[in-house]
C-alpha cells in the first residue's frame, strides 16, 4: 500500500510540474483532478520546498542571484496558481490597522522584532523571505529607532521556523523599559515590527498597574536543604486581568514567543511581572530599610527580614516558618491576584419619587449573571472568594456597612453621598478592582437660563402691547420653579437629571436664578418692548445662559423672525447690479427683517466691508414701498451717489447738498421725483423742517458716530425725521464706551433699549458682551478679523473719500488763484515767469486743499480748518477703535510733521513723522518701533522718503492724504502695508476735495486728463495762456465743491 502510494506520488509530482509549467497533457490534468486533495497536499509541500530554497538563495551573493531568485519566485507563483485552479482559495490580504500602518509585517521587508526570553528582550531583524540583519545592521537599526544605546549584549541567533537564523542582541527589561513604553505609546519611531509595538504596549499596561498601586508583595521560597529555605520578596501585579490585557494576549504577534515558545497568556504574565519587578526594585532602592536580623528563626524574624530584605535579596529561614508566612501572604493577596476572582458590582440607582439614591452590591455567578451579595455570601463554600472581595469592599467603601447585617449590600444615599460616589469614590473603587455602575454624570456644570413665557390675549400688535408673563429657570434642559430652586439651593451638591445624565448645579447660579425668579414674580405683565429687552439682557437679572422667550407676543414673533432672517439671504437681490458677499447677503436679510418688523437697527460692518452697497441693495428692493433719506458726512455723499449709480442704476437719486441745492419750497417737489435723497448731516439739520415734513420709509445715517452725543443739536434735530425703519451705519459702534452704542440704538429704536444708565449697567460696561447681546437682532456686526469674513475679502480695498473745503480753505484758494491770474495777466510777465507761477500755484492750491496751515504756516491750532483733516481724524478714530494701525502719506514733509503732532494731541497716542530730514538711524528706529508696536498706532510719512522700500505690515490702513500725479507712486506707498507678511486686508483711503485742484489731480491719476492740460490748457505755448482757461483749469467749481457744512 505504501509502495503503490510512492509511485503514485512520483507520477503526481511530475504531473504537477508539467501542468504548472503549462506543458501538462490531458492525462496530467486528469491525474491532478482524480484526487484533488492529494494533489493539493503535494502542491503545498512543493510550494514550501521552493519557498525555503528561495530564502536560502536570497542569502547568497553573486551576480546570478537575481536571476535564480526570480526563477524560484516564478516557480512559487506557478504552483500557487495551479493550487488555485484546483480549488484552493486565494491567500487572504493581510489586514491593515488605522488605514495606514500594517498590523502584520509586510512580506519581503526586514523589520525589527523582539522576542521575550527568560526575562530579557531579544532583538533581531528579519521578515518573511528576507535576509536577516547582521549584528552590525541590527545595531544600526536599533540606533535608528531610538533604542537604548547601552545595555545590549550578544544573544544566540534566533532560529525562525522557516529555517533561517537571525543574529540577535538581548537587553534587560530594566534597560529597555523606557524605550519600549514610548514605542508602545506610539511616541517613538514607528519603523518597527508589530512585535516591538506589542511588547511596548504590554509593558505600558504593566506601568499602568504600577502607577495605580496595583502591585502586591509575595515571598518566593527556594529549599536549600537541612530544613531551611532561601526566601526572597517579590512584587507581583494585581488586577492583571483587565480587558486591555486580555486583548493584548489575543494580539500577541508570532515573533514575541519565537525563542521560548510560551503561550500568549504566560508570555503576557511574564512580561508584566518583569516590568512590575523592575519598577518596584527601583522604588525599594530609594527607601531606607532597617538592618536585617542576623538569624531568622521565628515568624517575627521572618517579618523583620522581609522588611529589611524588601530589595529582593535572599535570606535563609526555617522552611516551616517561612513557608507559613509565604502562604499567608499569598492568601492575603489572592483576591486581587487571582485571574478568576469574582468582580463585585456596586450599582447606584437614580432616585425615585422619594429622592433616595439606592446602592446595591451584587456578585457575579457562574452563568454570567449576578445575584445580591447577601445571597452570594450565604451560598458560598470553600475558599470564599466572594467573602474576600466583600471584605475588601467594606474596607474601601465603609458606607456600605451602614445598613447592617440584615440588609447586607443595600444602602440608601443622600444626594451628597451619591455625588461623592459618582465623582470620587466610584473611580477609586474601579481602580481597586470593583465594577461600579452609576448614572451618567456630566463633567461640566449646568448653565442657567431664564425662561420667560408670554401669553397675549389679543392679537399680536406691537411693542407696547401688554402680555401676561410667567418665569422659570432652565438648567440645561431641566426647567425649575422657584420652589425647586430653593430646594436645590439647600443641598450641598445640587444635582438635576438632564436629558444626557445628571448635572451638577453651581450654588452661585442657583442664587442668581432665585433672585431672577423673585424679581420675575413681581412682573406679571410686560410690554413687547420690555420682553424684548429681557431677551437680550437689557432688563432683569442676567443669568449665564441668558433669557429664552417662549409663548406668544410681539417680542416672541420678532425674535423668531430674527432667527429665521438668514434663511432668506441672497447674494444677487432683485434690482441690485452686482453680487453681495455672504455676510452682506446676511446683512441684507437682517435689514429685511427689521423692515418687516418695523424696527430700526445698526449695521456695524467693519470699515471696508461694504455697508453702502448692502444698504443700496435694500433700498433698491424697497423703492416701490417708500422713499429713503440717506444722511452722510459730506466726504462720502459723492461716494453714495456713485455707488448708487453703479449698483442700483434704476434708483432715482437726488443729492441734496451745497449752495445750489433745492430750496425749502423746491424740496418737496424734488423729493417727489426721487427714490433716494442723499444729504449731509449739516444740510439735514439746516433743512430739517422740510425733510421732517416728508414721510420716509427708510432713514439711513451713515457714519452714525455723528449722533453718539444724544444731546447734540444734530442728534436732537434728526430725531424729528419720521421713518418706518431707521438704519445707523458705522464700523465702530462703540468708540468711547457703551454710551455710544446706546445713543445709536436709542436713535434707531426710540425707547426700546431703555434708559442710558440702565443700558450701561445691564451690560456691565462690557462692550463685547453688549455687541453679542444685540447682534442679529438690533445690530448686525461683522469684522474683518472673522475668518469667514476675511476669506471673502480681497487683499486690498481702495476707497475714495470726498472731503469738504472749509470757508477758510475756499477763501485762501480763491486768493491764490486770483493772484496767479493777476500774475499771468501781467503783460510784463515772460513765459518762464508765467510757467513758474502756474506750477507754484498748483502746489499752493494742493497745500490749501490739505490745510490752510500747510500753505501758510501759522501757529494757530489745526482743528476745524480743513475738511481733509476732519476726515482723517474720523478714519484714525475708527482705526484706533478697532485697535489697528495706520500709515498716513503726504507729499509735503513739513505738513507731515505738523500733522503727526496734531494727531498725537488729538488721539493721545504718540505719532511720529518719517521724512527725509531725519537721520538714517532715527528713520530705522521709527520703522522698527512701528512694526514692533501692538494695538492702535499711526505713522505719518512723506511720500518721497517713505513711499518705497519700507516694510510696514503692522499697519493695515493707509491714507493718501494728498494726491500725486503718478498712480504708481501712490501704489508703492500703499504697498508699504500691502506686501508679503501682511495677514489682513489693507484698506486704502484717498482723500480728495471735489471741485478743486485735488480733483484735477485725481483725473490725471485716473488717466482722464494729462497734466499738460492743467499747465497748458489750450496749446503748448505758455504765452497763449488765457486767464479764463486758467481759472477753468485750476479754479474752484462751485457745483462740485463740498463746502464746509456748518448747521
Amino acid at each position: 500500500m505504501s509502495s503503490a502510494s510512492t509511485v503514485d506520488l512520483t507520477e503526481l509530482e511530475a504531473a504537477i510540474w508539467s501542468t504548472a509549467d503549462g506543458r501538462g497533457s490531458g492525462e496530467d490534468v486528469a491525474r491532478l483532478h482524480a484526487d484533488e486533495r492529494a494533489s493539493l497536499a503535494l502542491l503545498d509541500r512543493l510550494i514550501a520546498d521552493t519557498a525555503k530554497d528561495l530564502v536560502s538563495v536570497r542569502s547568497l551573493a553573486g551576480h546570478e542571484r537575481e536571476q535564480v531568485v526570480a526563477d524560484l519566485e516564478s516557480t512559487v507563483s506557478s504552483l500557487k496558481a495551479l493550487a488555485s485552479r484546483l480549488g484552493r482559495p486565494a491567500e487572504p490580504e493581510e489586514p491593515s490597522r488605522d488605514g495606514a500602518r500594517r498590523q502584520a509585517e509586510v512580506p519581503g521587508t526586514t523589520e525589527l522584532h523582539v522576542s521575550w526570553s527568560s526575562g530579557r528582550v531579544v532583538a533581531w531583524a528579519a521578515g518573511r523571505g528576507t535576509v536577516p540583519d547582521s549584528h552590525d545592521d541590527l545595531s544600526n537599526r536599533l540606533e535608528t529607532v531610538g533604542a537604548p544605546p547601552v545595555g545590549w549584549h550578544a544573544h544566540p541567533d534566533v532560529r525562525l521556523p522557516d529555517g533561517v537564523s537571525a543574529p540577535a542582541l538581548a537587553i534587560s527589561m530594566k534597560d529597555a523599559l523606557g524605550w519600549l513604553v514610548s514605542v508602545g505609546a506610539e511616541r517613538g519611531p514607528l519603523e518597527v515590527g508589530a512585535s516591538v509595538r506589542w511588547l511596548g504596549r504590554t509593558a505600558g499596561e504593566a506601568v499602568r498597574l504600577a502607577a495605580s498601586g496595583s502591585v502586591v508583595p509575595t515571598l518566593r521560597i527556594r529549599p536549600s536543604g537541612r530544613g531551611h529555605s532561601g526566601a526572597q520578596v517579590q512584587w507581583r501585579p494585581a488586577l492583571a486581568n483587565s480587558p486591555t490585557i486580555l486583548a493584548l494576549t489575543a494580539a500577541m504577534p508570532g515573533p514575541v514567543a519565537v525563542v521560548d515558545g510560551g503561550t500568549a497568556a504566560t508570555t503576557v504574565a511574564s512580561v508584566i511581572a518583569a516590568v512590575v519587578d523592575v519598577i518596584t526594585a527601583e522604588s525599594v532602592e530609594r527607601m531606607e530599610l532597617p538592618a536585617p536580623p542576623p538569624i531568622v528563626t521565628t515568624s517575627s524574624d521572618v517579618r523583620d527580614a522581609l522588611i529589611a530584605r524588601m530589595d529582593g535579596s535572599e535570606f535563609q529561614a526555617p522552611t516551616a516558618v517561612v513557608s507559613a508566612v509565604s502562604k499567608s501572604l499569598d492568601q492575603w493577596t489572592r483576591s486581587v491576584t487571582s485571574m478568576s476572582r469574582p468582580r463585585l458590582i456596586v450599582q447606584l440607582d437614580a432616585p425615585g419619587p422619594g429622592g433616595v439614591w439606592l446602592v446595591t452590591v451584587r456578585a457575579p455567578t457562574a452563568q454570567d449573571r449576578t445575584m445580591p451579595i447577601d445571597a452570594a455570601l450565604r451560598a458560598e463554600r470553600g475558599n470564599r472568594p466572594v467573602a474576600a472581595e466583600w471584605a475588601r469592599l467594606e474596607r474601601a467603601f465603609p458606607t456600605i456597612d451602614r445598613s447592617g447585617p440584615s440588609r447586607r449590600g443595600q444602602i440608601a444615599l443622600s444626594q451628597d453621598e451619591a455625588w461623592e460616589l459618582m465623582t470620587v469614590t466610584g473611580p477609586a473603587l474601579v481602580a481597586m478592582g470593583f465594577d461600579v455602575r452609576v448614572p451618567m454624570l456630566s463633567r461640566r456644570k449646568a448653565t442657567p437660563m431664564l425662561r420667560l413665557f408670554a401669553e397675549s390675549a389679543d392679537t399680536v400688535v406691537g411693542a407696547h402691547q401688554l402680555s401676561n408673563v410667567a418665569w422659570s429657570v432652565l438648567f440645561d434642559d431641566v426647567e425649575l420653579t422657584s420652589a425647586e430652586v430653593a430646594k436645590l439651593a439647600a443641598q450641598a451638591r445640587p444635582l438635576v437629571q438632564a436629558r444626557n445624565g445628571w448635572v451638577e448645579i453651581d450654588h452661585a447660579d442657583l442664587a442668581a436664578a432665585a433672585a431672577a425668579l423673585a424679581e420675575g414674580e413681581d412682573l406679571g405683565q410686560l410690554t413687547g418692548a420690555e420682553i424684548l429687552r429681557h431677551s437680550i439682557g437689557l432688563d432683569g437679572i442676567a443669568l449665564r445662559g441668558g433669557v429664552e422667550v417662549r409663548g406668544r407676543s410681539w417680542a416672541t414673533e420678532v425674535l423668531a423672525r430674527a432667527d429665521g432672517a438668514s434663511s432668506s439671504a441672497t447674494s444677487r437681490p432683485e434690482g441690485f447690479h452686482g453680487e453681495l458677499r455672504s455676510y452682506q447677503a446676511e446683512a441684507l436679510a437682517w435689514i429685511g427683517f427689521l423692515d418687516a418688523a418695523g424696527l430700526g437697527g445698526c449695521l456695524a460692518l467693519d470699515m471696508g466691508l461694504g455697508k453702502t452697497p448692502t444698504v443700496l441693495a435694500h433700498l433698491a428692493r424697497t423703492s416701490a414701498v417708500g422713499r429713503a433719506l440717506v444722511i452722510a458726512p459730506a466726504a462720502v455723499v459723492g461716494n453714495w451717489a456713485a455707488e448708487a449709480a453703479r449698483f442700483a442704476p434704476e434708483l432715482r437719486v437726488v443729492v441734496h447738498h451745497g449752495a445750489s441745492r433745492a430750496s425749502a419750497g423746491e424740496l418737496v417737489a424734488e423729493i417727489d421725483e426721487a427714490d433716494v435723497v442723499i444729504t449731509t448731516y449739516a444740510t439735514a439739520v439746516r433743512d430739517i423742517d422740510s425733510l421732517a415734513s416728508v414721510g420716509w420709509h427708510t432713514l439711513v445715517l451713515d457714519e452714525a458716530q455723528a449722533i453718539k452725543n444724544p444731546a447734540s443739536e444734530t442728534a436732537q434735530q434728526l430725531r424729528r425725521l419720521a421713518a418706518e425703519t431707521r438704519l445707523a451705519l458705522t464700523g465702530t459702534p462703540i468708540e468711547n464706551g457703551l454710551g455710544d452704542l446706546w445713543a445709536i440704538s436709542d436713535f434707531v429704536n426710540p425707547g426700546l433699549v431703555g434708559t442710558r444708565p440702565a443700558f450701561i449697567a445691564q451690560m456691565s460696561g462690557d462692550a463685547e458682551s453688549a455687541l453679542r447681546a444685540l447682534n442679529g437682532l438690533l445690530l448686525f456686526r461683522r469684522t474683518k478679523s472673522e475668518p469667514e469674513v476675511a476669506a471673502e475679502l480681497p487683499d486690498k480695498i481702495d476707497e475714495l473719500d470726498h472731503c469738504t473745503m472749509t470757508t477758510e480753505q475756499i477763501g485762501l484758494y480763491q486768493a491764490v488763484l486770483d493772484a496767479l491770474v493777476a500774475d499771468v495777466d501781467d503783460p510784463d510777465a515772460v513765459g518762464a515767469r508765467r510757467q513758474g507761477a502756474i506750477l507754484a500755484a498748483i502746489t499752493a492750491l494742493k497745500q490749501i486743499c490739505n490745510h490752510p496751515a500747510a500753505y501758510r504756516d501759522d501757529d494757530r491750532p489745526l482743528a476745524g480748518r480743513s475738511g481733509k483733516l476732519a476726515r482723517l481724524e474720523e478714519i484714525v478714530e475708527s482705526v484706533f477703535a478697532a485697535d489697528e494701525r495706520i500709515l498716513v502719506f503726504t507729499h509735503f514733509a513739513t505738513w507731515g510733521r505738523r500733522l503727526a503732532a496734531h494727531l498725537t494731541d488729538v488721539t493721545g497716542i504718540p505719532i511720529s513723522c518719517y521724512d527725509g530730514s531725519l537721520s538714517r538711524g532715527t528713520r530705522d528706529r521709527l520703522i522698527t518701533e512701528f512694526q514692533a508696536g501692538r494695538g492702535a498706532g499711526a505713522l505719518v510719512l512723506s511720500l518721497k522718503a517713505g513711499g518705497t522700500g519700507l516694510n510696514l505690515t503692522a499697519a493695515n490702513h493707509v491714507v493718501l492724504y494728498d494726491r500725486w500725479w503718478n498712480p504708481a507712486i501712490e501704489d508703492q506707498a500703499r504697498d508699504r502695508a500691502w506686501r508679503i507678511g501682511q495677514q489682513r486686508t489693507v484698506v486704502s483711503h484717498r482723500l480728495v476735495c471735489p471741485g478743486t485742484i485735488d480733483e484735477r489731480v485725481e483725473e490725471v491719476v485716473a488717466g482722464k486728463r494729462h497734466i499738460a492740460q492743467l499747465v497748458l490748457p489750450r496749446s503748448s505755448s505758455m504765452a497763449d495762456l488765457d486767464t479764463d482757461q486758467l481759472r477753468f483749469a485750476l479754479g474752484l467749481r462751485p457745483d462740485e465743491l463740498l463746502a464746509e457744512d456748518q448747521p
Partner: protein, 95 residues
C-alpha cells in the same frame, strides 16, 4: 516560461523526512492592538493594598506600612515613566 524546468528531475525534490506537522507561521497577521488610553494615577495609590487589611502575620501593621511605602514609590516611578512616554493623563481644566 522558463525552459529548463521541463528537464527538472523529480528526484530533486525528496519526499522523505518531512516533518508531519506544519511549522508555526511566525509572520502570521496578529489581531489589532487595543486602543491606547492615557495612564491616570489615583489620588490614593495605596487604597487597593489597604483593602486587603493588614498582612496576616505578627506585627502586620508595621509590615503594611512598609508595603504602602513601596507601593507609593512604585506609583511615583511608574507615573514618571508614563510621563516620559507622553502617556500620563492630564487634568482637564474644563471639569
Amino acid at each position: 516560461m522558463n525552459q529548463p524546468r521541463n528537464t527538472r528531475p523529480t528526484s530533486r525534490r525528496p519526499q522523505q523526512n518531512r516533518r508531519p506537522t506544519k511549522p508555526v507561521d511566525v509572520w502570521r497577521p496578529a489581531d489589532p492592538l487595543p486602543d491606547l488610553a492615557p495612564i491616570t494615577v489615583p489620588d490614593d495609590v495605596s487604597a487597593l493594598l489597604r483593602t486587603l487589611g493588614d498582612p496576616p502575620t505578627a506585627g502586620g501593621d508595621i509590615l503594611a506600612s512598609y508595603f504602602i511605602a513601596v507601593v507609593e514609590r512604585t506609583a511615583a516611578i511608574a507615573a514618571a515613566i508614563a510621563l516620559s512616554a507622553d502617556l500620563l493623563a492630564t487634568v482637564d481644566p474644563a471639569v
